[in-house]
Structure formats: structure tokens, C-alpha cells
Subunit: 143 residues, 2 copies
DNA sequence: TAGCTAAATGCAACTAAGTTGCAAGTATTT
DNA sequence: AAATACTTGCAACTTAGTTGCATTTAGCTA
């Protein structure tokens, strides 16, 4: 990991009053570096030998979510991805795109969607998630 | 289960050329009866003593999906729901609403959403899923 | 800078969802 | 009614995620 990223991660951690531990710096630095959602397993693999325990990664991510640094994107096939929070409001975040060929997930930051309307009285829609599937530029057969 | 439902289930099964077995009639009949998405576990519980084996339920649902009778709604927290296919197109299905209080999931049949637009060239969006969370009429605190 | 303490880590064991292999049973076809 | 290909159920397994607990450590204070 680059020193600049490490520094940025440390800064972010103290800005949200989280203790600056090795696992946290490593995980947050990685998320900053890749700038796309990752599963716990992907995080673990990418950190390689120095990867913290699986449990620690989950708890680390949990603390980031509580601090508002990161949010979870629940995608298909019981895979969770984590990413830095950016343009997310209370009601909705950007759509997530998963490539059906390579499996990579991308954030469609800046793409806005209208909120769904309830089909009948009584429903209160608190949050909306939009998930997309298809081919990413890398796997697009027409490119 | 009502006899009418059982008959309808049997009819559906032969219309898609699936063998008419007890587990299939039971599961399909239940899905027809409740008219909302259910997890494998919910199906098992509702069928009670006569419930087929967990594996059989999964394989039964899989055969229904292949036959186009049923589709999967991937929701949060690695819970899958199954429901009868109705207004679903290649590109998208109706939004799914999950109540954060009671956990029940409802299909917002008839609610249409515009397809997301790719933020950059190269992405091919094949499918879009919209998931909603909030309070259902039963749990709405303002009602 | 040493010491204190609450917070964080790592290990082991567990739960829950879902899958695979295989032997035994059964719905259709002839 | 027999043959056979499709289905079922059991057991064992995999994967994602959680819990409890003993040990370690970040950051505060003297």
C-alpha cells in the first residue's frame, strides 16, 4: 500500500475517533486504494500474509459502518460488498453494477434513480437499493 | 391447502412438463396460496410435518425457476425469497419491499421503475433489481 | 516515559444457508 | 406390468458470518 494512502487512512480514522490499529489502517487503505466494493474474502486475499483475522475484518468493517466511513451493499448470491460511503443519503445510495462475466462490482456513483412509489396506502419506504447486472467494459463482447 | 389450488398447481406443472410429485405440488400450491415471496425455511415451516427435505425444496424451486414458473428475489442479509413470476421482463421485475419491523416481504407488482443509465461507455446493463425497506401497513407507527 | 484501562484482536467453536454425492423410490412411457 | 429416467431424502460438506473469551495494544495520564 502507498504511504499516501496509509496517511489518508490514518487521518480518516482519527477524524471519526476510531483507534488507529494495524487492521483498520490496512483495511481502510485497501478500500481507498481499490475504490470499489469488496467482500471480506476479497479483502483478506488482497491483504495476503498480513491480513487480519476474518473476525477482525468483519468487526473492522462494522466499526467503519458505524462511523459512517463505509457502507454495505447487499448484492445477489449472499455476497456482501463494502465500499466507502460517498453520495449516499438516508433514502438511497448509488446503484451497484455487478458484471456477470468477471464478477467485479462497480459503484455507479452519480447515477440517480427516482424513489419507488408505494402501490397502496400504509407502506413507508425508508430505503431503496438498486442493483444492476450485465457486462462491464472489460467483458463487453461488442467492444 | 385448498383442492382448487392443488388442481391449479398440478395443471401448472404439466403445462411446463415437470413431473407431478408430492413435493412439487405442495411447494407450488403454497406459493400460489400465499402470493408473496418465501424463503426455503418459511416454505418448510408452513408445510409443517409434510414438508419435503430441505434439499428437495431447493431443487424443487430450482426446477420451477428453470421452467419459468418462479423467480428468485435476492434480498438483504443473504435471505432469498421465491415468488411466482408475473410481471417480470428480461430487464427487470417489480420492486420488492421488506418490512424492517416484521420482516415480511411484499411484491410491489405494477410499480415500474426506469432503467438506470450507465455512467460511462462500455457497460451493458442486462438486469435491474430494486429493493425497498421500511414499514408495512401492519407495522406503520403512524397508522 | 511508564503504567493504566478500555477498546481491539485472534482463536476456537458455533450457526445458518445452501450444495453435492449417492442409494433408494416413483412417475411416466411402452 | 416392466423398464428407465427423473426425483427424493439422507449424510456430509462448504461458505458466510457470529459469539465468547483470553490476550494484546492504543492512547490517556501521571
Amino acid at each position: 500500500m502507498g504511504t499516501a494512502l496509509k496517511r489518508k487512512a490514518k487521518k480518516l480514522l482519527s477524524s471519526v475517533k476510531l483507534r488507529r490499529t494495524n487492521p483498520r489502517v490496512a483495511v481502510l487503505g485497501l478500500l481507498l486504494a481499490v475504490d470499489k466494493p469488496l467482500t471480506q474474502d476479497q479483502i483478506s486475499t488482497r491483504l495476503g500474509r498480513n491480513a487480519p483475522d476474518k473476525v477482525t475484518i468483519y468487526r473492522t468493517l462494522e466499526s467503519f459502518v458505524r462511523a459512517g466511513l463505509v457502507h454495505r451493499a447487499f448484492l445477489q448470491e449472499r455476497v456482501w460488498h463494502f465500499e466507502l460511503a460517498d453520495d449516499c443519503t438516508e433514502q438511497q445510495c448509488h446503484p451497484h453494477f455487478t458484471c456477470t462475466s468477471c464478477g467485479d462490482t462497480h459503484c455507479f456513483t452519480g447515477v440517480t434513480m427516482p424513489m419507488a412509489r408505494s402501490p397502496e396506502k400504509g407502506f413507508v419506504i425508508g430505503h431503496q437499493r438498486v442493483q444492476l447486472e450485465g457486462f462491464c467494459p472489460k467483458c463487453n463482447p461488442n467492444l
